[in-house]
């Protein structure tokens, strides 16, 4: 059973040429897929279209077999889709605790909310130490950790991440990706990880999909992609 199916999706902005053209993709349950490609290849647009932030011109998105077409972003999220957007998406006017709680609101009720937040602190220890800090006082790494924790707290079925490693130190990146991989293995979470950091992404993924000019140009097991120099060179430029 596919956790997420993208069926001939076409996305564009205004009247311009499509940024994502007739794209089809299949995410099996529990898989971790790395979405690779250069800047402008359409990774961000694809993720935004999957979550409904950008309207699609054509095609469908199926979450667990159910068509998401026409659903608002918040409704898609409530069906189990989550996105950690590019850049710092922490709500800086709120504290760490409030950000986490916000993420837990729709999924949990009453005391379960507090339990979910506590569980998040266990998983992401550095956040526990800063629980009452305002968002804007957090470092880049802490913010990304918070964004990830906040997305996970709602126990999504499918988690999309848009360049989580952007601007972060390698050590922090390794830590984050490690937590991500562990959580995915533990809970059966399906992950679509869009990255320019190819090595990091391929190290935690099962499969790698390369996007170029809005279309899929390669779909291989991650190990193969990482190991094959010709493939890497052709599509990833190194």
């Amino acid at each position: 059973m596919s956790a997420l199916t993208v069926d001939r999706l076409t996305v564009g902005y205004g009247d311009g040429a499509p940024v994502v053209a007739d794209l089809s993709l299949d995410l099996p349950d529990g898989a971790v897929l790395a979405l690779l490609g250069a800047n402008g290849a359409g990774k961000t647009t694809l993720l935004r279209a999957l979550t409904g932030l950008v309207p699609a011109r054509g095609g469908r998105v199926l979450l667990d077999g159910r068509d998401l077409t026409g659903l608002s972003t918040e409704d898609r999220v409530r069906r189990g889709l989550a996105l950690v957007p590019e850049g710092r998406s922490v709500v800086v006017e709120l504290t760490v605790e409030e950000n986490l709680r916000l993420g837990a609101l729709w999924r949990h009720r009453g005391p379960a909310r507090a339990r979910a937040v506590a569980a998040a602190y266990e998983l992401f220890e550095p956040l526990a130490r800063r629980r009452h800090a305002a968002g804007h006082t957090l470092s880049g790494g802490e913010r990304q950790m918070l964004a990830l924790a906040r997305a996970l707290i709602a126990e999504p079925a499918v988690l999309l991440l848009d360049e989580p490693s952007l601007g972060l130190a390698p050590l922090v990146v390794a830590q984050l990706l490690g937590v991500l991989r562990d959580t995915a293995e533990r809970t059966g979470l399906t992950v679509l990880l869009a990255e320019q950091n190819v090595t990091g992404a391929l190290s935690v993924a099962d499969r790698g999909v390369v996007l170029s000019l809005g279309a899929v140009v390669a779909d291989r097991p991650a190990a193969a992609l990482a190991a094959d120099p010709a493939l890497r060179h052709a599509y990833l430029g190194f």
């Binding site: 902005y13 950008v54 709500v91």
Partner: protein
């Protein structure tokens, strides 16, 4: 230049039209001409620089007071100096409204939309108080000299027609520079600032001075419009320039299409003619209801038209603005109150 010829032609046509109208209609025409001057300034201001002024009535009042004070003084000093009183009065009107426009413009340059609108609103509400505190004659206001028909024409035309002619000429003189400004480089600069301030600044167009200049450019015609009203009614009172009137100016600008001077003319005629039409129609209605409808029904209709206009072509009010902005990549879905403050 073509614009000047066109302006002259329209002016002559308007003057010719006054022969076909009865005295009351000519009086209305004079009023409409005055309102037109103010609305033209306002519509250029909002349409080309996005600055919403809710207080243009105060600028008209400033012009009116300036005219009244100066004309009365000159008239007293030199009673038989022909058009001196009128011309001096107009200069006074332009000076007063220009000065106030400059002050407001300097404030406007530093303020974003709602804040400027709020400031101008406060100004309108404060006008009656200002009239009491400053030497402006309080509630009674100031009176302006009555301008009789000149000897040479007295056999031909009545006084209302004469005033209509003056009104048309003054308004033409006030609005024509706006048309030129709009079509020329200043207009381009204004539109650049409206579209993207940062980009404009990088291109060497300073947003602050441009916005201030736009405000002054819209204030002077408004002031001259106030002078026109003073010519037609021979008085300037704070009651004549209240909140309702100021909002009516905005309505006229919106109805005609923001940024369009031709539209301003249509809007001006409408806001002068419609209340009168409605009140006449209302006379047929039984006394008590009729009393309440008097004046209010017109305002109700105007409000409804403004709402409908903004809903139907949100582009109309913002279209000029939207077309100037480069298309933003992230199209927000219609249901969200999208803001630019996302981090």
């Amino acid at each position: 230049m073509r614009t000047l010829l066109r302006a002259a032609l329209i002016t002559l046509l308007a003057i010719a039209a006054t022969f076909g109208l009865d005295p009351f209609r000519n009086y209305q025409l004079a009023t409409a001409a005055g309102v037109f001057a103010a609305v033209a300034g306002l519509t250029v201001l909002i349409g080309l620089t996005g600055q919403l002024s809710l207080g243009h009535a105060v600028l008209m009042a400033a012009g009116g007071y300036g005219y009244a004070a100066t004309a009365t003084a000159v008239d007293a000093a030199a009673p038989d100096a022909g058009p001196a009183a009128l011309l001096a009065g107009l200069a006074g009107a332009a000076a007063a409204s220009g000065a106030l426009g400059l002050l407001l413009g300097m404030a406007a340059a530093r303020l974003r939309g709602p804040y400027l609108a709020g400031l101008t609103l406060a100004l309108v509400i404060a006008l009656p108080s200002a009239a009491n505190v400053l030497p402006l004659g309080g509630e009674q206001g100031l009176s302006a000299p009555f301008l009789p028909v000149p000897e040479a024409l007295s056999a031909l035309i009545a006084v209302e027609q004469w005033h209509a002619w003056l009104a048309i000429l003054i308004s033409a003189a006030a609005v024509t520079p706006l048309v030129l400004l709009r079509a020329g480089r200043p207009g381009l600069r204004m539109r650049a600032v409206l579209g993207d301030e940062t980009a404009a600044a990088l291109a060497g167009v300073r947003p602050g001075p441009v916005k201030t200049a736009a405000f002054v450019a819209s204030a002077v015609p408004a002031g001259l419009g106030g002078a026109v009203l003073a010519v037609a009614t021979q008085q300037v009172t704070p009651g004549g320039y209240g909140l309702a009137f100021s909002l009516t100016l905005v309505v006229a600008a919106v109805i005609g299409g923001l940024g369009s001077i031709g539209g301003a003319a249509i809007g001006a005629v409408l806001v002068v003619a419609l209340p009168w039409l409605v009140d006449t129609a209302v006379e047929a209605v039984p006394a008590d209801l009729g009393q309440r409808l008097n004046g209010n029904l017109a305002v109700l209709l105007f409000g409804a038209v403004v709402i409908a206009a903004t809903l139907a072509r949100p582009d109309g009010a913002a279209g000029l603005l939207a077309r100037l902005r480069r298309p933003t990549p992230a199209a927000p879905t219609p249901a969200t109150p999208s803001t630019n403050t996302e981090r």
